[in-house]
Symmetry: C2
Subunit: 302 residues, 2 copies
């Protein structure tokens, strides 16, 4: 199954206690695409400026990512400047330059309208819906969002959520969206807004998935060397939806394996700056870490 | 195998967003004893004042807890006053009255010296060691500690740690003890201080266990109704060591099941104030929740 992703392509300047990069390849659609590309064909819908380095396009093409939907507009590419302290769970945004992203209005080439799996990365919920309206009834729609949209476009976000099968959202934002401190109740409240499946991202504490009847908990992989958490959530979503698109199976058992695969990909992402941790993996690397997740969580019955 | 626990017996006044109690039964040795009593015989070593209610002694006796080592001293029982906000991970201590606990110097009745499993709850590391010196080479020694001892008695704590097989410690305190932000490195550094097994408690995010060769991750049970997190860590330790004492098997596979059993018991503890959630369980309740942990974490191989 082909996956369509709409989101940002960015040049990130990031500083962590373990190093820093300037104007490195980033953006939600980039992390997602590279991660998902190990499992299924991916088409990326986004905008870049005229200053966007050719080598980055080359990297995406080398991973087989379809760039028909990547618009190049007059002006500069979206830039994000951020830093992290030793508590790598929380990014501090130092500066955001929207640039060409400010007037981004995605229009899908006809060839992309039939994608069966769609990921609406964390952008304006109105844009998320506009993309969805251009598709021909995909089988699975997943989305991400953030506090900014919860606070500034609550009505538009609610309209988008009605059309979404899976919402992947950070823990604090789930509580904010549902206006409920207890996470189980928050997830149930979000399910009532539309998404049948709610995936709560908890950074170094892993993820919780709420399906209609059950809850699944997957840890994050305990790493000795975390260099940069930027993009971990989108890399997670790429592994998750990539696995589902490859399996063509949206049963709960398949979703659980997919969730672990998302966690596997995120664990590689944080080991390097920018996309260094995920751009050159082999399927053998990925399967080996999946086995490590099995070993990390296995216990016998009573 | 008999378990010996040394720690506090307290009267707790606790307020959470979901209610409050005044002078309710509490203390690390109490939560531990009640929890462990479902699995193995427990002897409690602690001190109370002359004001300690008879009904609490009755509750402990009804659970089969051996109170030969519970000293009654002239004066008032140890009291703790605390509160929690909606973020139930962090207790605010409003007042501590040490009372008879201030001059507590545990001496073990001869009949308790042969206990094969020992739990040194979170008390002064000098007292922990004094208890240990009165035992006849137990097969398994576990301990807890906190920031206060890490900061005020670092040398004494290090001496105790050399004698301990398992250290159960909160996440932030593990980082502080090891002076290392990365949790994997922190656990390895603590293992180098003595304990072969380091169990990192992460509240609502579950626990990580570091053995010599592997890491095991167990989630906390996602609950819709958490009333009072007081005692969750000691209840966890009670289920963990209780299971091991019953199994008489300290292999890694057994320790993993024990860790889940600790998490099971902690999940009951937080559902009620004081010991309400754990005092009247059946083995059927406990086994059913163990199965729920299995369902919560299970995923198939690739």
């Amino acid at each position: 199954m082909r996956i369509l992703v709409v989101g940002s392509v960015a040049l990130d300047s990031v500083k962590t206690p373990f190093g820093e990069v300037q104007e490195a390849l980033g953006g939600s659609a980039v992390y997602f695409s590279i991660s998902a590309s190990y499992f299924a064909p991916v088409s990326l819908v986004a905008v870049v400026g005229q200053d966007f380095p050719q080598q980055h396009l080359g990297l995406l093409r080398a991973r087989g990512v379809d760039l028909q939907g990547l618009h190049q507009s007059p002006g500069r590419t979206f830039r994000w400047h951020g830093s992290y302290g030793y508590d790598l769970n929380e990014a501090r945004t130092l500066r955001t330059e929207l640039n060409v992203f400010e007037h981004f209005s995605p229009s899908l080439p006809g060839s992309l309208r039939g994608a069966q799996v769609v990921f609406l990365a964390n952008i304006d919920p109105e844009l998320q819906r506009r993309v969805l309206q251009q598709t021909n009834s995909p089988r699975l729609v997943a989305a991400d969002t953030m506090n900014y949209w919860i606070e500034h476009k609550p009505r538009e976000l609610r309209e988008t959520l009605r059309l979404v099968n899976i919402l992947a959202i950070n823990e604090a934002e789930a509580r904010e969206l549902a206006q409920e401190a207890n996470l189980v109740r928050a997830a149930r409240a979000i399910q009532a807004m539309g998404p049948q499946v709610v995936v709560i991202k908890r950074g170094e504490y892993g993820v919780l998935m709420f399906n209609s009847r059950s809850i699944f908990s997957a840890p994050a992989y305990p790493l000795e060397d975390i260099h940069d958490p930027t993009g971990a959530g989108d890399t997670f979503a790429g592994g998750f939806l990539g696995y589902l698109a490859k399996a063509r199976d949206f049963s709960e058992a398949s979703m659980r394996k997919a969730l672990v695969m998302g966690s596997v990909m995120a664990s590689f992402a944080v080991e390097g700056f920018s996309v260094a941790g995920i751009k050159g993996l082999s399927l053998k690397d990925i399967e080996a870490r999946f086995q490590e997740f099995k070993a990390l969580t296995h216990f016998e019955a009573l």
